[in-house]
Each structure stands twice: as structure tokens, then as C-alpha cells.
Amino acid sequence: MPGAIHAEGLVKTFGDVKALDGVDLDVPEGTVLGLLGPNGAGKTTAVRCLTTLLTPDSGKAVVAGIDVLKNPNEVRRSIGLSGQFAAVDEYLTGRENLQMVGQLYQMKAKQAKARAAELLERFNLADAADRPSKTYSGGMRRRLDLAAALVVSPPVMFMDEPTTGLDPRNRQQLWEVIQELVAGGTTLLLTTQYLEEADHLAHDICVVDHGRVIARGTSDQLKAQTGGERVEVVVHEREHIGAAREVLAGLGKGETTVEQHTRKLTVPVTGGAKLLAEVIRDLDARGIEIDDIGLRRPTLDDVFISLTGHLAEQADEESDETVEAAK
């Protein structure tokens, strides 16, 4: 049975740029799919195609059992979208914003009013409900935007980089809200640039780059594929690099890489903190002085390097702008 969100062979081209180059996705009901990738990878374009904002050049998409291309307006009744920008009217109060969205979801005025009050309460915005949202903090605006997406409690939610630009406290808060949503049975597709976020929230992760899904699996599977944890050591004296290398070669699970100019050695490991302690003891026993040592977990960059052989680099931001320009 196809999932609550199902896409096959989505292609979307802007001028010369293939923003989506044959994307397949499947999100079973009640689960969270994290779409992970750098700027310009095609994440936003995928969300825009699935939420009826863009028509793909080819491919098919079904959301909440409804064909996105054939019945876009039916799909709109069953989805909530929370974008990268907090899309609320800054001159309207929080309450006015939510009432407006409710009415445009075809609720009766009275019903929209009651729902707005309820959501303001739940998103800790009741005190600020009658202030123009211009006066809200970034976190408050993001919560209002999310509340607007939840006005009809849609069975399927799309969130495009929900926490980009938020401080850690607000990010944490938003994560909690998202987790509650999912616990309530909502199916969610979320895009993010942060592996940590996908790790925390998503059941499955799709890594996208240049409009293609280049890897998919659970967070653990991806990390295993990336090589898992590694130990990084910066030795104090350049002469000690050789000796340190011997120590790491003995304890690590792969090839040790050395950056001469920074005196940094890196080796993949398994065993976590316990192994780190071992490395420190051995280095100490050999009298190797160290400036820094640590256990590093894979970052998005690591996943990218291992999957594509290139960094999730700045060049992608440029191609993102090309995409914008092509529109």
C-alpha cells in the first residue's frame, strides 16, 4: 500500500538547472521522513511539488490518497505547510492571522475564531495574541506559522527547514511540538540541512543532492554508511605525529588520515568514549603531548563527503540562486 506521501520519478527543470531529477519518495502513514541536503539540493522544490505550489515536468505524486496533479485543491484540504520563511502577515495580530487561515480553509467564521483561540493557547502565544505579529520574536513567529499550518489538524504536514535560523532553545521547543504532532498520528515530511535534526525527528532519511536521492535509510544506517564515529587528535609537537599515528592505527578501525600543517590525525573508530580513554592512556604512556582530542560523530558534511565525494559546499548556494533566477 502506498504511503501517505508517495512520489515517483519527480522531475522539475528551471532553465538549465535540473532542480529535481527523478525523485522517488514514500512516507508511510504516521511516520516522519527527513529530506536532508544542502542549499540548492532540491529539497524545497520537492516540497513545492508535493504541496501543489509547483507542477512537476514529469512524475506522479499522491498525498493523503489524492493525486496531486489531478486534484490539487482536494490535496490542499488535507495538508498543512510551514515554510522556510514564517509566512504570516506581520501587520495582522496572531489571532487575526489564524482566523484568516481558518476561514480560507473554508471554516465558518465562528469556528475559525474558536480554533484560533485554541491554537494560540497551545503554542504559548495567548499573551501576544492581539499584538501585530511584527512585534513577535523569531521563535514566536515560527510558532505562529506552524499554528497556521495546523488550523485544520491536517493528516499530512510539510515543513520546509522549520528550525533554520532559530536559536537552540526555540529549536528544542519546536522539536517538542513536532514530536507531539507525530505522536498524534500526523504524517510529516520535513526538510533540513542538519543531520542532528533529521536524526532527532525522522524515522527515515533521504539524502538529496543535485535533485537526486543519493541515499536513504534510518539515521543509524546512514551513519554506519558514513563510517560512524572517529577520533581526532591534535598533537603538540610535529615530531610526535608518527608515534601518534602508530597508536591510532592500533586502536582505530580504518585508515588514519594526517593533516601535517595542523598536526591533526583522524581515525574511524567503534567503541565510543571507552575507546577514547584508551587512546588517551596510550598516547600518555608514550609521552605524546596533545593539544586537543575528541570523539567526533558524523556531520552532514561527513555524510556528504562519504556519499558524493564532495562537500556540501558554497557552490550549491550559487546554483540555488540560479534556480531562483530561472523561475
Binding site: 504541496t51 488535507s78 520563511f85 480553509y105 485544520v152 498524534g184
Partner: protein, 287 residues
């Protein structure tokens, strides 16, 4: 934060589609835009200052040196001028509509609206209707100022209240049609700033290559031709006729001979064409 989820509500307690939904959705969006206007009162203020300034400048600076027909009487020019200023003022609403819609695009609000199960043209209709309300207010204030500086409807031909209201109705229709041009501009440019200047620049030649501020029968022949057939001139001529103002163009051109019909036809044509284009553009809009 307490639980966010609850029993899903029926997504569509109202029947979908139809004229009823279009009207409802448009009104919801119009209300939103009107609330915005009250929260940015300086916008309305600036919208008023400019035409009032034009009335005063044209009346007192140009008034004494303008020949209308056979006369250079400043009082005749004053009465001649007002229809032109009114018409120019209503067309300037174009820039406001364009800037507002470009701003909505820029801020992601258009994306939000487009992801909602609402009537297709409602976002643009709501915006243009709100602009129409603002134009009506501006026009009312402007008419009062015009009366204060000495505009007297019926100074050249007899008129009555109904005809005068008819003139204002034509002005509002022209303004409404032009806001759809603004809507299309707003959807086509990248920034609200570009929409403001892009919405204004072309209005200067359109409003000046006309009978609005000078006696077009004194223009060089090819310019006179342009002025006679300019849709904008038709509304100005219609208003002069309905207001009983002096300086009707004696031209044989059809729009000058039948200005009320010409004004209606032009405005409806502009409205239909640009509404169609703008709504199509909206459906494929992306920020």
C-alpha cells in the same frame, strides 16, 4: 507546551467551489488588506498628499498660463483640471496593488495562500477590492479639496447629482481595472520596490499623453491622435461631460464623441484582460 494534536476537524464544513466560495474568500482577503491599511496609516496619508499637491500646484502654478479652447481664464482651467487629476489619482492605485502583492510574494504569504483550499482568484480580488476602498476614500477627500479651491461642477454645462455620481463611478471602475495591471506587475517582479517604481513609471506617459492636463486639440496631430484614443482620455472626457466641466475635446475620434461608452468599454476590457493574465500568473507564481 501542552499537546498540540486533537481530533482532526472536518476540512470542509462548507461546500467547495462556486461563486459563493470565491466571494467569501475574496472578502476574507479584502478584510485582511483593509486591516493592514489601518495599521499603516502613513500609506493612506501619502496616497492623499500627492494628488492634493497636484491640485494645488496645477491650479495655482499652471492655472494662469493654460489655454482651454479660446480662453486663458484660470477659473476655467481649474474646472477643466479636476477630472484629469481625479483620473490620474485613481490610476496611481496601480502601484499600491503591485507593491502589496510583490511584498506578499516576497514574504511567502502567496505560498501560504496557494497551499490553502481557497478560490483561485481570491487573493488578487481581495487585494484589488481593498485598493478600491482606499481609492474611494482618496477620491472623496480629493473632491472636497477640489471644491475648496473652487471647483464648481456644472460651470460649463448643466449637470445633476446622478450624473456627478456616474462620473465618480466611471473613475472607480477605471481605478479598479488599473489595479489588475498592478497585480500582474506585482506578480512579475522580484521585489516590492521594483513593483512600486514599475507600477508608477509608465503611468506618467499614459496620464500626460492625454486630455487630462492640457487641451489635447492644441497638440501636434500625431500626439493628438494618441491622446484622443488613449483609454485614460476617454474617462477624463466622460467625467468632464458628466460633471458639466469646461474644455470637452471637440475631436471627431469615436472615444471623444462617446466618452461614457468608451470609458466603460476600455475599463471593462482592461479589467477582463489583466484579471485573466494576473490570475493565470498567480497560479504559477513562486517566490
Amino acid at each position: 507546551m501542552t499537546a498540540v494534536t486533537d481530533t482532526p476537524r472536518p476540512a470542509a464544513p462548507r461546500p467547495a467551489g462556486g461563486i459563493g466560495q470565491s466571494v467569501r474568500d475574496s472578502l476574507v482577503v479584502a478584510k485582511r488588506n483593509l486591516i493592514r491599511m489601518t495599521r499603516i496609516p502613513e500609506m493612506i496619508l501619502f496616497g492623499l498628499i500627492q494628488p492634493v499637491m497636484f491640485v494645488v500646484l496645477f491650479t495655482y502654478v499652471f492655472g494662469g498660463s493654460m489655454q482651454i479652447g479660446d480662453t486663458t481664464d484660470p477659473d476655467v482651467y481649474k474646472n477643466f483640471l479636476m477630472a484629469g487629476i481625479f483620473a490620474q489619482t485613481v490610476t496611481f492605485a496601480t502601484a499600491g496593488a503591485g507593491a502589496g502583492i510583490a511584498d506578499d510574494m516576497h514574504k511567502g504569504l502567496i505560498d501560504r495562500f496557494r497551499s490553502l483550499p481557497m478560490a483561485r482568484g481570491a487573493v488578487l480580488t481581495g487585494r484589488t477590492v481593498a485598493d478600491l476602498v482606499q481609492t474611494a476614500i482618496t477620491l472623496l477627500v480629493l473632491a472636497v479639496v477640489a471644491l475648496l479651491v473652487g471647483w464648481r461642477p456644472g460651470s460649463a454645462e448643466p449637470t445633476n447629482f446622478g450624473k456627478i455620481m456616474g462620473g465618480f463611478a466611471l473613475l472607480l471602475l477605471l481605478g479598479y481595472a488599473f489595479t489588475w495591471i498592478g497585480a500582474l506587475i506585482g506578480l512579475s517582479v522580484r521585489t516590492p520596490e521594483a513593483a512600486t517604481s514599475g507600477g508608477l513609471i509608465w503611468l506618467f506617459p499614459v496620464t500626460f499623453l492625454s486630455n487630462a492636463f492640457v487641451d489635447s486639440s492644441k497638440m501636434t496631430p500625431w500626439l493628438r491622435h494618441v491622446a484622443d484614443w488613449n483609454p485614460f482620455s476617454a474617462t477624463v472626457q466622460a467625467c468632464r461631460k458628466l460633471f458639466g466641466d469646461p474644455g470637452l475635446s471637440p475631436s471627431d475620434a469615436w472615444p471623444m464623441q462617446h466618452p461614457v461608452w468608451a470609458s466603460l468599454i476600455y475599463s471593462v476590457l482592461i479589467l477582463v484582460v489583466f484579471r485573466t493574465l494576473a490570475v493565470r500568473k498567480y497560479r504559477n507564481a513562486s517566490a
